[in-house]
Every structure is written in structure tokens, then in C-alpha cells.
Symmetry: D2
Subunit: 140 residues, 4 copies
Amino acid sequence: MSCYNSTVIPAPIDKVWAKLRDFHDMSWASGVIESCDAGNKLPGTQIGAKRVLNNAFHETLLALDDQNRVVRYSIDDGPEAVSSDNVSGYVGEVQVFPVTDGNQTFVLWTSSWEDSGGGVAEFCDPIYKALLDALKKHFS
Amino acid sequence: MSCYNSTVIPAPIDKVWAKLRDFHDMSWASGVIESCDAGNKLPGTQIGAKRVLNNAFHETLLALDDQNRVVRYSIDDGPEAVSSDNVSGYVGEVQVFPVTDGNQTFVLWTSSWEDSGGGVAEFCDPIYKALLDALKKHFS
Amino acid sequence: MSCYNSTVIPAPIDKVWAKLRDFHDMSWASGVIESCDAGNKLPGTQIGAKRVLNNAFHETLLALDDQNRVVRYSIDDGPEAVSSDNVSGYVGEVQVFPVTDGNQTFVLWTSSWEDSGGGVAEFCDPIYKALLDALKKHFS
Amino acid sequence: MSCYNSTVIPAPIDKVWAKLRDFHDMSWASGVIESCDAGNKLPGTQIGAKRVLNNAFHETLLALDDQNRVVRYSIDDGPEAVSSDNVSGYVGEVQVFPVTDGNQTFVLWTSSWEDSGGGVAEFCDPIYKALLDALKKHFS
């Protein structure tokens, strides 16, 4: 079970990655993420950092890779289909790649989960689409 | 030591991957690859298949992945900087990803090698750029 | 949802990989796999090759990688928990790594699936354990 | 150009990973690493953390992955063959996997580099062997 969403951002990869690599910076996601609060004292590039998005999504940074430009996190609890009652083992991943023939950036946002009571992809896919749209707008 | 080239193709991923997955089909590369001859009797989706491009590049299929859409091959011998006298352990890789917000395809063509007498990236990068341009033209 | 089983085989990696890379050769799995019939005419190193194990498990080769020594396949239909009625998107993967300080081989057999009516890991894990035991016995 | 060294550690993966994931903790490497000094103020699980080993090897944490249990770092400068005069783009990676049939841990220590004046593998391989031996001793 998984989600797969991707887009091309009209900005060089270094600028896009600089924004995406900090788990505590959701400033690029205006209109989608209204609040991003720290859930512990770890900075946003330290593995184990926790954040709470929109007072609802509780997430933990699992992996950060400055070489391959990957960030991976768990959703530990959240609203509706991503509540801990409905889903287990939810992991999201963002990876970016340079589009070399146009100085642009390919952004891939995927997620998967171990088990669920259903409805997870239907709930999450529109959120990822909105996030990628916001990222595109931020860099346009 | 490595090459990294990428582009976005205005065609759905299934069509692009159907072309790229067959090691013996370089029909999409017109203007760059003039001839593609089989180097052994294995079909182009069998690991170990060999091909000779432009009577000069001798290549072997190392890996094919229909799930993640990856093809990987070695250059065993070739002209100038990719001759077996100058370079060892040369491996090229093509991977494609769907761009979901536009029904397009991100194509990533990378290569690396173990050791060389120099000049490999300078020789290969323009070829990969020409190949990606030809692929784009083929699907436009 | 996934299975994860692994072992160390007291044999050099080239011998182990030579056995595992051929999708139509289950001769090493005696006592577990009684029959391995081809499901189409493709050889066991050609992507798309099909096999039927024990007249019950219908599988397709998805990926073969002679460089990183990975084979990946789908279970398209099978008995009980892996029937196409109960599970969808079932993919198994075998990867081997050299244990350099002892000329041995680490074998990793994992699987995952998109959706199921349950019971898949409980059904599959003992099979993978039996397969890894058979492989160990074969090379001991 | 690359190094590849691996071993099996007679300890469960959680204990081994807990030691290896902290970039500032080389306490397990006694006899090989005499000193491990912080090169900046970042903790050992924050990407970008710097360390100096044996007053000689200057390294930066590039990636940490608590899900797949990978740590990756660069050697920015060091003695002899890994001096910045002789090698560029040097990256080391440690990954651990559970050996499920014996509650042990497979440890894979690899490295690669972009370019060099030679002698890098010859210099580094014995160090990795010594490190893996020390790790084994630590957990025996």
C-alpha cells in the first residue's frame, strides 16, 4: 500500500533541497500547512526530531541524506485515516533529483504503510498533491 | 567518477519504459546511434545480452528491473576515453520515474567507473546529452 | 506489510549467486520445492519469465541484477494466503552480499505486498525459513 | 574505485546499530581509533556533524537512516592516501542488516571516491578490516 506523487519545480536543486531538508521548516507549504510545531528539542536536521503539523499530524524524522537528497519520516498519529487506530508503520519519503537539461528539480513524494483499516491512500494523495503544488508556487 | 544527466520527456512512463527496457532497441536514438548489433544471441531483456553500438561501443546488460524501471549495463570496450585501455569498471544506468502531475516521465542517465586514465566524463557527457535529446525528440 | 528473513551461507558468493540468479533452477531447494515448471518460454534470466512452484505458486521474474546480485519476482497467484483473492501486489526479493572476512555469503529474502485479507506473513515466513535452511544445507 | 568489507557480529541488530548510529561515539573501536574529537558543535546524529579521528581523519556526517540502518560520511582530509591532495569525493558508508536465523548482525562497510592519485584502496582496506575486527571484539 503506497502513495506516489511527483512534479518538476522550476528552480535549481540546491535551493529546493535547502528548503526540504529542514524538518522544522514548512514555510514553503503555505495554504496547506498552517502550523509546524516542534515535538521535541531536536533541530530539524537531527534524526529523531519530532514535529506536529496543523496540530494534528505527529511525525518523526527517520532519515536525512544530504548526498542523495532524501528525507524520510514516520507519521506516528494523525487525523482520520492516518490515526494510529487506523494505520501502522506509515512512512513518507521525499527525494529530489536535478533535471540537468533545464536547471530544474524533480521532486518525488512517496509513502507506504504496514497495515491499515483502509482509506489511507484516498486521504493522503490529495494532501501530497497540495503540498507539491505549494512547493511549485513557492519557487515560481 | 561519474556522469549525471537527466531530462523530462513529454510522454507517459509506460511508453518511455517500453522503449528503454529493450537493450537491442535503439530506434529512438536516431542521429546518435547509427547501428545497434547484437553481440550474442540473448534477447534484449535477458541479463547478459551484449550489443555493439556504432560498431564501436561493446556493452553488456547487467540488470533490468521492470518494477523500478531501471536498466544497467557495462561498457566493456569502446572508442577513445572509454576504451578498455583507458577505463575499467564502466557502468551506465538509466532509470525512469513518472511525473504524476503532468503525465510525463523523468529520465535519469548516470554512469560511473572504477578507474581511468582520465577524460571519461568529458567524452561521455555530450553523448548522454545527445541521447536524452534524441529520446525527447522521439516522444515529442 | 512485509516479511524479512536472512541467513549466512558457508560458501563464496559466486557459487551462491550462480544458483539463485536462474529463476528456473530450484534444485537447491530440495524438500521445500518439489517441482518448478516454466510458465512461459522465457529462460530464467530473462525479465518476464514465469514459473510455477509445487503446481501452486505462479510467479513472474520482475528484476535481475548481476551487479548488486538481486532477483525480484511477483507471486501472481498461489495457495491460501497468497491466492490472488487474498493478496495483491505481492513481490519477493532475494539479495546476496559477500561476507568478506570469512568467504561466506549473507542472504536476505524479503517480501512485501500492497493489500491483503490478512495472514500473509504468517503463511509466508515459515516458507522463507525453510528455503533458507535448504539453501544452507545445499552449500554445507 | 571502492572498498568493500563486511562481517557478521554475534549480537542483535539493535545493540549494534545503537553504537554505530552515533557519529561521535567510536568507543567500540578501541585499538584502532585512539581519539574522536568533535569538529563542530552538532551532535552525532545531526547531519553535518564533523569529527576528527586520531587527530588525522576529518569527516562529516552526510546521511543517517534509522529505518534502513545506514550511516554515510565524507572524509574531507586525512593522512597519506586520503589526504585532500590525493583523493576527492571520498564517501564511506556503514549499513547493518539483521541475520534473522541467529539473532546476529551483518555489517557492511563500503567506500568510494570520485578521483585520486592512487593507493586509496590499499590504504583504507586494512583500516576497515581492523574496524570490523574491533566491532566484533566489542560485541563478543
